[in-house]
């Protein structure tokens, strides 16, 4: 509606309309759509819950998630599949295979990027490292410094993926490990301030790399009502800028719909988390337009 009003007010555009559909038709595919699919805290839940499960009967299961993801990819090939950590621990599959099956299946499902959750250290940092050959996807973390560990160079702060000419920057954030994970498990992994790390990432991804879309894969937790000083996804969203989507984990938060938050410069972004155990898949569609004037009116968020 706004677009039409604008065009009517512009002499040149009026002339263009006068020329017939020719000009418009040639630019019709200007709208581009990027689909982001995501999971978090799957915790080795490879099989669906059984029919007798007291809480989640017949929910979840990797084979069903696979068919859903394949159908969405068919509908939009410009799809990214992401995971926000705690891939490990929760069923005997992890105790028997140490995460091998989890990584192999995520590779089959063509996950693009994941971040690291606290439970991914449950077999120690060496146990995580040992499973890396089975992962045909990348790990990102901007606030775990692995320099003095076996994981050094195997985890990047961010990754840039280009889909249909749209440049997407994905960076990772992890939760403070001290007090949550035994030091002998994470060894010399250094935890850096997530807010500072996020600010550095958005500067690099927005200013230097000129990304069109910036996604934060976070295992910080959705919100800590009783500990307002503790960093969380909602808090991070408010104090940073240039992030379009925070995909969270750790708190196993089941949201009815993604949360819209105003960032430090008053722009809206989305914070989402889809519970745990592979019961849900999150789906966020981003629509891009070449029309500058449309963008001037801000983006609409439909959740």
């Amino acid at each position: 509606m706004k677009r039409r009003e604008f065009i009517q007010q512009t002499a040149a555009a009026s002339a263009l309309i006068g020329l017939g559909g020719m000009g418009l038709t040639s630019f019709a595919p200007a709208t581009k759509k990027i689909t982001i699919l995501h999971t978090n805290d799957v915790h080795s839940h490879i099989d669906a819950f059984g029919p007798d499960d007291g809480r989640n009967p017949n929910q979840g299961g990797v084979a069903r998630r696979a068919s859903l993801i394949a159908a969405i990819r068919k509908e939009n090939p410009n799809t990214l599949l992401l995971d926000a950590g705690d891939i490990f621990q929760g069923t005997p599959y992890f105790n028997y295979y140490g995460g091998e099956l989890e990584f192999k299946l995520m590779s089959m499902l063509k996950y693009d990027v994941a971040t690291i959750g606290n439970h991914d250290f449950d077999n120690g940092i060496d146990g995580l490292y040992a499973q890396l050959p089975h992962a045909e996807f990348d790990f990102v973390s901007a606030n775990y410094d692995f320099t003095n560990t076996i994981m050094d160079t195997h985890v990047k702060p961010y990754r840039i993926i280009v889909k249909d000419g749209i440049k997407i920057g994905v960076f990772g954030l992890g939760i403070e490990l001290s007090g949550l994970v035994d030091k002998k498990m994470y060894k010399e992994t250094k935890y850096l301030d997530p807010t500072e790390a996020a600010q550095e990432m958005t500067r690099i991804l927005k200013q230097d790399e000129q990304c069109d879309l910036i996604i934060c894969l976070s295992h910080l937790g959705y919100n800590y009502r009783n500990r307002p000083e503790k960093i969380s996804d909602l808090k991070l969203a408010e104090v940073t800028k240039d992030i379009d989507l925070i995909i969270g984990g750790h708190t196993h938060t089941f949201l009815k719909k993604p949360t819209v938050v105003k960032n430090s410069i008053g722009e809206n972004l989305l914070v989402n988390q889809v519970g745990c155990y592979g019961i849900n898949l999150g789906r966020i569609d981003f629509y891009f337009d070449a029309d500058k004037n449309k963008a001037a009116n801000g983006k609409s968020i439909i959740v």
């Binding site: 000009g23 929910q59 069903r64 028997y96 993604p258 999150g282 609409s300 968020i301 959740v303």
Partner: protein
Amino acid sequence: MNYKHFILLVCLVAFSSCKKEVHLNKVEGKQINISDSLDIDQAVEDFIKPYRDHVNANLDSVLTYAVDTYSKGDGEYNTAIGNMMADAVYEQSNPIFKGRTGEDIDFVLLNHGGIRAIISKGNVTTRTAYEVMPFDNSTVVVKLKGAQVKELIDYLVKAKRAHPISKLNIVLDVNGNFKSAGLNGQNIDFNKTYNVATNDYLYNGGDRMDFFKTNDSLYVLDYKIRNVLIDYFTKIDTLNPVIDNRFIQLKN
């Protein structure tokens, strides 16, 4: 070049110049439930199957035989299943602790809530161990001073629950008040230091067992309680634990 051509040219230049720049103008978000109405991806399913079969076969491998069904609800201050767990922790952990320190574990304390399932009469499998102890808690040994051991016993006296213990004896009088506490038939000397085996959950203050906080030393044995049970079940022919008099209330 007439007027119309010029306008067209201007328009084309204008459009191609902004073609490179894209702008986010709409975001749609939703959540999709992974329900049984979705198809199963057969390739993924076939890939999982050998892993599942192996895990299930292993989980269902028989380790020992239970003479009866044992539940944490059977017994007032001590239960057969709790006694078995605490005794298993002592039996399996003491050689490791002794090998490391040259000292013995004096007694074991676990928590009643930590027994997560019953053990049914018949075959006891690895799956049984996973059911009874689904959590990954590990055995730790804590060096406690007499004052903290006193707090520990006060806690048990007050709780009046069948928290599993091994090697420790507690007697309550007819009114349910503390009467005596002993180790190896001797009263506890509250001026001495004792090696108490427990799990890392309780050590970290689980079940408000705060007395573990003030301690002289902590020994992490890297031995999961579940593996204690699996190793213990593997070792014995039959499982036949009993309710005994390790924690009792005098009747008269």
